[in-house]
């Protein structure tokens, strides 16, 4: 393996690691660790329903 091939291999591996980390961070951007588990913080595009519950 030539020097430039080695360099490209290392660069590719580092790129994959950084990319993987960034994707994982993006996918879990609204997820927080809490004691005993996780909480996913959600938002809604429309205002909440405000109606009393019925028997």
């Amino acid at each position: 393996m030539t020097k430039s091939q080695k360099f490209l291999l290392i660069l590719g591996t580092v790129g994959l690691l950084i990319g993987g980390f960034a994707i994982a961070k993006f996918l879990t951007r609204n997820v927080r660790n809490i004691r005993g588990g996780t909480v996913k913080l959600q938002t809604y595009d429309v205002p909440p329903i405000e109606e009393p519950l019925t028997e």
Binding site: T38, L41, L53
Partner: protein, 236 residues
């Protein structure tokens, strides 16, 4: 990896807010009052919540939300259902937790919890899992629930963990079924909340008491207590 099942919760879990007459959880004044209540519970009971939340692997946000929903952070005397104190626990449930923990959760009660419960209720060492507590035993439990806020929080948190284990779906435990069962009682709910159910499905299940369904909105709805906790970044 903890000793108990992992809790997964979405906040808010439903795009609906609690309403009762003119009292609305989305009103600014109600939001402010609820945030203040959460903060006052943190201020007054953080050490107890932290200790027993760590023991039973339940987050402070969840315990504080239950305290506010159950009692508004007041050390309330027994009500008509005999529910007492900060987490509105009944003597029979205390007996059940202490006498039957291992059978129900498939995991032994830690020495720390056992010795704390035995100290708070000396007669609990003799509890018989096949015999409900006597009037004298219930009276002893009631006094501890009323006069010992740490005991009330410890046993309330243990009940939450028991219900999380009882209603888990595979490797994950969800809060919504725990909320209705904490209010309505495990035995009356266990057949009504079988399987994986969304918060919306539980809200529309009219065989669940209205007050218990309201719990879902008070804690998991928009501007519910858990929503307010995380929006306001309340910390210990």
């Amino acid at each position: 990896m903890g000793k108990y099942t992992t809790v997964e919760v979405k906040v808010p879990d439903i795009n609906r807010s609690f309403v009762q007459g003119n009292y609305k959880y989305s009103n600014e004044s109600v939001i402010k009052a609820n945030v203040l209540l959460l903060k006052s519970v943190v201020k007054n009971y953080s050490a107890f919540i932290n200790t027993w939340g760590t023991e039973f692997e339940i987050d402070n946000s969840i315990i504080a939300s239950f305290i506010v929903t159950e009692s508004g952070g007041r050390n309330a005397p027994p009500n008509r259902f005999d529910a007492t104190g900060l987490m509105q626990v009944t003597p029979n449930t205390v007996w059940e937790i202490i006498a039957k923990w291992q059978v129900m959760t498939k995991s032994p009660l830690s020495e720390k919890a056992k010795s704390f419960f035995n100290k708070a209720i000396p007669s609990s060492k003799k509890y018989n899992p096949n015999k409900l507590p006597s009037a004298a035993e219930r009276s002893e439990i009631r006094k501890a629930l009323q006069n010992n806020p740490q005991f009330n929080i410890a046993i309330g948190t243990a009940i939450l963990r028991w219900l999380l284990e009882a209603f888990k779906d595979g490797d994950v435990a969800s809060l919504n079924k725990v909320m209705v069962s904490y209010n309505a009682g495990y035995y009356s709910m266990r057949n009504k909340v079988k399987g994986k159910l969304s918060t919306s499905q539980l809200l529309n299940n009219k065989s669940i008491p209205l007050e218990s369904r309201a719990y879902l909105l008070k804690m998991l709805g928009v501007n519910g207590l858990l929503d307010l906790w995380f929006k306001n970044d309340i910390k210990f």
